[in-house]
């Protein structure tokens, strides 16, 4: 009897263990935080239901975004109250989102209904056809210039919610000390000014520039080429030899001969390099638009009142140039709640919500209407420079962002890094980049 009891107990334990492991493997996929919003009181019809809004089956969605894109609970509640759609937020690290999307897509599953889409992923996601096309009117497209970054072929696969492009920032005090009230408008004069700043002992490394083997080195090479020399790519997607070699050579010279860039930048993350200007350790940088809210914020800057934004210098012929690096949200092709997901995407990128998101978390609006409202109301200081720079946004990629962007970027930033550490000459770096692009483009 005892033996029998022991056997039964052992068997039950084994089954319980197997069942618990199976249970742990299933269930909803939620990450760091989960928020569930419900509309109104139970039993009461929502406005959406009264006006024939989304059906019960379409009334619940999951949204996967990085931490900085999470809207406040009040905003989510207002969305649910207006539409009757429940929203569950999956907050995931930016670096992990792309992996989750790709892995889920292999199994034809959606990790969430609405998902973050970075500009650099558009080529891959578009080629893999993982996102639902979104229709916009011409007026809407005109109000959101950066939406072109999320176009793959004829389809818009995401709407931008956070505007980012490159903008110049300079330390007025450093330039005043060398007799300049305004920063130069072209690169040759800017380099001369930085040399004088260094020579006069005002700042040891006046130019802040990312040289590490990270994505920022790729975008830095691209905007430097565009603003100083011209197109990075030819119309057939080959690399423009004259412009890119000139750009690489100038960077190499600035690092090794002029010594205007801190050698430590060879191994520093982009954020660490950008923050040099807010600590007074740099006189000029080209950086993200969100620094507009930081350069004179005592929480982030130790040189409050000294920094100002400006247009990226040109080359005398070209006034300035920049390209957009926005973030967007799109609807998974495998979502079972596409209608509700579309409502959320449209709501999240609407002008009113963009204004509110800027006030809540500093997210720069992608709609010109929202941007202008913040500037006119005096909420966004120095915002006019940003609006002016946005007029010169050009995509460096003929025909849109390629599906092999990640592989190309890896070669570009490694080539730049190896060039500044002395392993490659500018010509060799160009050859490596060009060969890779041609290989991928075949």
């Amino acid at each position: 009897m005892r033996k029998m009891t022991r056997r039964v107990v052992s068997l039950c334990c084994c089954i319980a263990m197997a069942a618990s492991v199976t249970a742990c493997g299933g269930g909803t996929k939620t990450e760091q935080t989960q928020q569930d919003t419900t509309a109104g009181k139970q039993g009461e019809k929502t406005d959406a239901e009264k006006t024939g809004g989304p059906s019960v089956e379409d009334g619940e969605i999951t949204v996967m975004v990085p931490p900085w894109a999470e809207p406040s609970q009040e905003l989510l509640n207002s969305f649910t109250a207006d539409t009757g759609i429940k929203v569950t937020m999956n907050i995931v690290g930016w670096d992990d989102i792309r992996n989750k999307v790709s892995i889920a897509a292999v199994g034809k599953k959606a990790p969430a209904d609405v998902i973050e889409v970075d500009w650099s992923w558009v080529g891959e996601f578009g080629a893999a056809d993982w996102f639902e096309p979104i229709n916009l009117t011409e007026d809407e497209k005109a109000d959101m210039p950066t939406v072109s970054s999320f176009q793959y072929g004829d389809n818009i696969i995401a709407l931008p919610y956070a505007n980012d492009f490159r903008l110049g920032y300079f330390n007025q005090e450093h330039f005043k000390k060398i007799g300049m009230d305004q920063a130069p408008e072209n690169w040759d004069d800017m380099i001369k000014a930085c040399k004088k700043i260094k020579a006069d002992g005002i700042c040891e490394y006046p130019l802040s520039f990312t040289l590490s083997a990270t994505e920022a080195a790729t975008t830095s090479l691209i905007w430097m080429t565009m603003s100083r020399y011209g197109d990075f790519f030819n119309s057939d997607f080959s690399v423009n030899k004259d412009n890119v070699i000139a750009s690489l050579t100038s960077i190499d010279k600035i690092v090794k001969e002029d010594k205007l860039i801190d050698p430590a930048s060879q191994n520093m993350k982009d954020v660490e390099v950008y923050e040099k200007i807010t600590t007074g350790a740099a006189s000029f940088m080209v950086g993200p638009t969100y620094f507009i809210g930081r350069i004179n914020n005592p929480e982030y800057s130790s040189v409050v009142g000294q920094l100002s934004p400006l247009l990226i210098p040109g080359n005398g012929t070209t006034k300035t140039a920049t390209f957009a690096l926005p973030e967007g949200i799109g609807i998974s092709k495998y979502s079972e709640n596409k209608g509700a997901a579309l409502k959320f995407v449209q709501w999240y990128t609407s002008p009113d919500i963009q204004v509110q998101l800027y006030k809540d978390q500093g997210s720069i609006p992608t709609r010109t209407e929202a941007l202008q409202e913040l500037i006119d109301d005096g909420i966004m200081v120095d915002g006019q420079v940003m609006v002016d720079q946005s007029q010169y946004i050009v995509s460096p990629f003929p025909g849109g962002i390629p599906s092999w962007y990640a592989e190309m970027s890896n070669t570009i930033y490694n080539s730049v890094n190896q060039m500044v550490t002395g392993s490659l000459t500018p010509e060799q770096a160009y050859e490596k980049i060009s060969a890779k692009v041609n290989e991928l483009n075949q």
């Binding site: 197997a18 083997a213 990270t214 430590a264 092999w404 890896n410 890094n417």
Partner: protein, 289 residues
């Protein structure tokens, strides 16, 4: 009949779990490695046999990554074995603070690898790292050294960081093996006139071989699989690329599941061969009599 079935029923859940969570993914990965499978070209997936493996072996980047991995492996194993042994010998001495010393010795092992990497990155940071500060203050160098920009310096730093993490496990295993050696063996050796070095060489070391085999196998696998520390220290740059980093980039950055799976299989085979070598040549049954 019931008696014959019962053990199989008991083994069933564990077996099923192993099959589903271990063997099936291994088999599936192998099948992916035989295909051209780029997620950005879903309509272009096709069977290509061993082409992925051939492409990998022809790629200079693979041999570069392999050489980096080999240097890290040798450095980590040597450093871990030697320092681990020394620490085990120290901990084997009976002192009042033995417990405290043991707790301190375990700290590196308890840190997650990514925390480990971030901590050492601050030590070797090119601008305001502790190492540069100390050396500048001691007038050894006049300008900060770019520790993480040059290939061999970053590889050796990675090896140091990984070894630092592995040493506690190594020393604990060796210590427990030391403590299980009967004292009578040492007494006999002492009576026969053996000095400390001879005792260590002829008695302690041979009797520690089984534990050393376990430690070497574990450390080698850790060294081959190093990922978190490299990414924390120097990112995804080519300079410090290892096999694991290469496999990760191919699979999750470039979305080439075919090539990435092939690379993963190569890593698995390398780790398996190393393990086999250790088990056959280092691990032996010991008889204290």
């Amino acid at each position: 009949m019931k008696r014959k079935l019962t053990p199989y029923i008991m083994l069933a859940p564990g077996t099923i779990l192993m099959l589903v969570l271990v063997f099936y993914p291994i088999l599936r990965t192998f099948l992916y490695s035989l295909q051209r499978m780029k997620l950005t070209e879903p309509g272009n997936t096709k069977f290509i046999g061993l082409q992925n493996y051939i492409m990998i072996f022809k790629d200079p980047d693979f041999w570069y990554a392999l050489s980096n991995s080999a240097v890290i492996l040798v450095s980590v194993v040597l450093f871990t074995a030697v320092v681990g042994m020394l620490i085990a010998l120290l901990l084997n001495v009976d002192t009042k603070i033995k417990g405290v010393l043991m707790a301190v010795a375990i700290i590196p092992w308890s840190l997650p690898p990514i925390v480990n990497g971030v901590m050492w990155r601050w030590i070797f940071h090119p601008s305001y790292g502790l190492m540069n500060r100390v050396l500048i203050n001691l007038y050894v160098i006049s300008e900060p050294v770019q520790w993480l920009s040059e290939r061999w310096s970053v590889i050796l730093i990675v090896a140091l960081v990984v070894a630092w993490r592995c040493i506690p496990f190594c020393s604990i295993v060796i210590l427990s093996a030391m403590q299980s050696i009967p004292t009578q063996v040492y007494e006999s050796a002492c009576i026969d006139g053996s000095n400390n070095f001879q005792t260590f060489k002829r008695i302690t070391l041979p009797l520690l071989m089984p534990s050393l085999g376990i430690v070497l196998t574990s450390t080698s696998i850790t060294a081959i699989n190093v990922f978190d520390e490299i990414v924390s220290l120097s990112g995804y740059g080519d300079v410090s690329k290892t096999l694991m980093l290469q496999a990760y980039l191919k699979t999750f950055s470039f979305l080439d599941y075919g090539l990435g799976s092939a690379m993963t299989y190569i890593i698995m085979v390398v780790a398996g061969v190393l393990g086999l070598i250790y088990i056959r040549n280092v691990y032996k049954e010991v008889d204290y009599i």
